[in-house]
C-alpha cells in the first residue's frame, strides 16, 4: 500500500501521455488542461525522504505572501470556499495565542502579538489521526506524509477528534459548488469525507516542492527531517524553532522560527 501511490501516479502519467494527444472531453475544460497534464517524465525524478518536514520563518512572512501561499494551495487542491463554522481549510493564518495556546503567553512581545502564523497539518511522526482512523483512510506513507484515501473515508470524523491541532476539515456539504475555478488536475472531494493538507504529495512525486513553500519566497523551507544535510536540518541547527503543542506527543514535523 505504501508505495502504490507513486506507482499509481506513474501509471496515471503514462496514460495521460497517451491521452493528451487526443481530446480530453471527459475533463470538461479538457482542452486547456491537456497541456498541463503531467507526463511520465515528470515522475521520473521524485523527491524522497524518510520524514518530510517544514520550517517556517515567521518573521519573514507578511500578509500578502501568506495569502499567496494559501491561494496557491486552495486553488490547486480545489479547496472549497465555505463561510462559517463548517468551513474547509488546508492552510490558514491565526495569531500567536491560537497557534501556540499551550505556551500561555502572558507578556508577549508586541511583535509576536501582532504577527500572523501559517497553520497547516503538522504531518506528525506519531499522528493521532492515523492511530484512530478505523479504515486506514488516513495513513502515513513511507516518506512520513500523513495522507488520505478519500474513497475509503466513511466520514466518522474520529480523526478530527484525534487531531490536537485542528488541522482537519469535514465536507458537511457537496463542495463542488463552492469551488470557483475547478482544477481538473486534482480531484475534488465528495460530501461526507474529511480532508486536509497533504504536503503536496503529488508535487513531491514529481520532484517539486509543496506549493506554499514555492510561494513563500524563501520563508518556508522544506526537506527531510531525518537527513542531517537537508535544508530543514541545516536551519534547525542554527536557529531555535518551536512546534505547536509538542506535549501531545505526536512529534509534529512543522517547525516555527519566531
Amino acid at each position: 500500500m505504501k508505495s502504490s501511490r507513486r506507482d499509481f501516479l506513474k501509471i496515471a502519467g503514462v496514460s495521460a501521455l497517451g491521452l493528451s494527444a487526443g481530446t480530453l472531453g471527459f475533463l470538461g475544460e479538457g482542452a486547456q488542461a491537456a497541456d498541463a497534464l503531467p507526463t511520465a517524465q515528470d515522475f521520473a525524478k521524485p523527491s524522497n525522504a524518510k520524514q518530510w518536514g517544514m520550517v517556517i520563518d515567521t518573521a519573514k512572512l507578511d500578509d500578502a505572501t501568506m495569502k499567496k501561499c494559501i491561494d496557491a494551495c486552495h486553488a490547486t487542491h480545489n479547496v472549497p470556499k465555505i463561510e462559517g463554522k463548517q468551513e474547509i481549510k488546508w492552510l490558514w493564518t491565526d495569531d500567536f495565542h491560537a497557534t501556540f495556546p499551550t505556551e500561555f503567553p502572558t507578556y508577549l512581545s508586541d511583535d509576536l502579538h501582532h504577527r500572523k502564523f501559517l497553520l497547516l497539518c503538522n504531518h506528525c511522526a506519531n499522528p493521532a489521526c492515523v492511530r484512530v482512523c478505523p479504515t486506514k483512510a488516513t495513513f502515513k506513507n513511507n516518506e512520513g506524509l500523513v495522507i488520505m484515501d478519500y474513497h475509503r473515508c466513511i466520514g466518522c470524523r474520529y480523526c478530527m477528534a484525534g487531531c490536537p491541532y485542528g488541522a482537519r476539515s469535514f465536507n458537511f456539504r457537496d463542495p463542488e459548488k463552492f469551488i470557483a475555478n475547478m482544477n481538473p488536475l486534482y480531484p475534488h472531494r465528495t460530501r461526507g469525507v474529511v480532508e486536509k493538507c497533504t504536503f503536496c504529495v503529488e508535487k513531491l512525486a514529481q520532484g517539486k516542492l509543496p506549493l506554499c513553500v514555492e510561494a513563500s519566497g524563501g520563508a518556508m523551507v522544506f526537506g527531510d527531517l531525518e537527513d542531517p544535510k537537508s535544508p530543514v536540518r541545516q536551519i534547525l541547527k542554527d536557529k531555535y524553532a518551536v512546534r505547536r503543542n509538542p506535549a501531545a506527543g505526536t512529534e509534529p514535523s512543522v517547525f516555527y522560527i519566531l
Binding site: 463554522k85 463548517q86 479504515t135 457537496d174 460530501r191 505526536t250
Partner: protein, 387 residues
C-alpha cells in the same frame, strides 16, 4: 414465540403505529441529511461530534446496565429478579440497536460503513467498539431468546447458555469501557483525557440504565397485569442509589484533579460547562440543571423510607435520568471539543432536523422494545396462567 407479537390490543398496535410514524417523520429528515450531507446539523469544524454521538454514548450505558440484573440473578442466584431479568436483557437489545443506529446516522458516508470490516484496523478503538457492540447484541439476543423459549416450554435452559451469560457479564463492562476509550485516548481533548472516564461512564450507566428500566417496568405494571415484585424494585432502586452516589463522587474527583492541580487545560472545559468560557455560557443552564437534578435525586433516593415509597421513587428516577442524560448527552461531547485546539469556543447546539433524526432512532428502539417486551409479557402470562 414471535407470533405473540402479532396479536394484541389496539393499544399495543397503536403504540407500534406511533413509533412507526415517528420513524417515518425522522426518516424524512434523514433523507434530507443523506441528500445534503451533515450540513443540516449544528456540527462544525471545531465541534465535529454532537448530539448523535452523545445519544450513542448514553445508550451504550443503558445497554451495559442490564448487567446490574444479570450479575445478581445468574451469578448470585438472586431470584427476586426472575421476572425482571428478561426485561433487562430485551432493553439491552433495543439499546444496542439504537447505538448502532446513532453511529450510522452520524457518519458522512454511511454506504461505506462496511469499510470498518473490510479494512479492519485493530489500532483504532472504533473498530473494537464495533466488535463489542455487535457481540453484545448477539449475546443478548441468543441468551434472552433461548431463556424465554425454555421458560415458555417449561424446561431448564440448555447448558450452553450459562457460559454465554458469564461472558455477557464481562462483555457488558467491555462495551462501555471501550466506548470510554474512544474518548479517553485522544491527546488534545483534556475533558476526556482522564483515566477515570470509563469508570465514570460505567457508574453513570449503572444508575441511569436501571432507572430507565425500572420506570418503564412500573409503567408496564400500570398498563398490564405485570408485577416485577416488591423485592426486585427495592433491590434495583438500592443499586441505582449506590451507582448514582459513585457517579457523583467520581465527578468530584475530576473537579479536585482539575482545580487543585490548577492546570489550565484541565480546568477550561469544566469552567466552560459550569461558568462559561470566553463569554460563551450556552452550556451552563444544561449543566446546572443536571447538577440540581442529580443532587435532588440523591436526596430522594438515599433515605430508605423515601426510596421505598413509589410516589417518591418515580420522580427521583425521572430526575436522575434527565440529570445523567444532560451530563452525558449534552455536556460530555461539547466539553471535549471546547475550548478547541486554538483555545477558542465554537458553540454547538443540535438543530431541529438533527433532533428529529435522533428521534427516528429512539422511535426504532421504542418499536423494538415494545415488540420484545410484548412477547416476554405474553409468555409470562401464559406460563403463569397455566399453573
Amino acid at each position: 414465540m414471535i407470533e405473540k407479537a402479532l396479536k394484541g390490543s389496539p393499544r399495543y398496535f397503536g403504540a407500534l403505529l406511533a413509533f412507526l410514524a415517528l420513524m417515518g417523520i425522522g426518516g424524512g429528515f434523514y433523507l434530507i441529511q443523506l441528500n445534503n450531507g451533515l450540513m443540516i446539523t449544528g456540527l462544525s469544524r471545531d465541534v465535529s461530534w454532537g448530539f448523535y454521538i452523545a445519544q450513542f454514548t448514553y445508550m451504550v450505558g443503558v445497554a451495559a446496565s442490564a448487567v446490574m440484573l444479570v450479575l445478581p440473578y445468574y451469578f448470585h442466584h438472586y431470584k427476586a429478579y426472575s421476572k425482571m431479568i428478561i426485561m433487562g436483557e430485551f432493553l439491552a437489545i433495543a439499546a444496542v440497536i439504537m447505538c448502532l443506529g446513532f453511529i450510522v446516522i452520524d457518519i458522512g458516508q454511511p454506504q461505506r460503513m462496511l469499510n470498518v470490516l473490510i479494512n479492519s484496523t485493530p489500532r483504532s478503538v472504533l473498530f473494537w467498539d464495533m466488535v463489542v457492540l455487535n457481540g453484545y447484541l448477539v449475546l443478548n439476543v441468543v441468551i434472552g431468546w433461548t431463556s424465554l423459549m425454555a421458560y415458555w416450554k417449561r424446561v431448564t435452559p440448555p447448558a450452553w447458555v450459562k457460559p454465554l451469560v458469564y461472558l455477557s457479564i464481562i462483555w457488558a463492562f467491555s462495551i462501555h469501557t471501550v466506548t470510554a476509550f474512544l474518548y479517553a485516548g485522544l491527546p488534545g481533548r483534556h475533558f476526556w483525557l482522564t483515566a477515570i472516564l470509563a469508570a465514570r461512564f460505567l457508574s453513570s450507566a449503572f444508575c441511569s440504565g436501571p432507572s430507565i428500566l425500572l420506570l418503564m417496568t412500573l409503567l408496564v405494571g400500570k398498563l398490564t397485569k405485570f408485577d416485577p415484585g416488591k423485592e426486585a424494585v427495592k433491590t434495583l432502586s438500592t443499586t441505582i442509589t449506590y451507582a448514582m452516589c459513585v457517579n457523583v463522587f467520581f465527578f468530584f474527583l475530576e473537579l479536585f484533579t482539575a482545580f487543585y492541580s490548577n492546570m489550565p487545560g484541565h480546568m477550561a472545559p469544566i469552567e466552560f460547562l459550569f461558568n462559561g468560557f470566553q463569554g460563551s455560557t450556552y452550556m451552563t443552564p444544561f449543566m446546572w440543571t443536571a447538577s440540581f437534578l442529580a443532587i435532588g435525586s440523591l436526596i430522594l433516593l438515599i433515605p430508605p423510607r423515601w426510596r421505598e415509597n413509589r410516589d417518591m421513587l418515580v420522580p427521583a428516577l425521572i430526575m436522575l435520568v434527565i440529570g445523567t442524560w444532560l451530563d452525558k448527552g449534552m455536556g460530555l461531547i461539547a466539553a471535549g471539543f471546547t475550548p478547541n485546539p486554538f483555545e477558542r469556543v465554537t458553540e454547538y447546539l443540535p438543530t431541529g432536523p438533527e433532533m428529529m433524526i435522533a428521534l427516528m432512532i429512539y422511535a426504532t428502539g421504542g418499536f423494538v422494545l415494545t415488540v420484545l417486551w410484548k412477547i416476554a409479557l405474553e409468555v409470562r402470562a401464559e406460563v403463569e396462567g397455566s399453573v
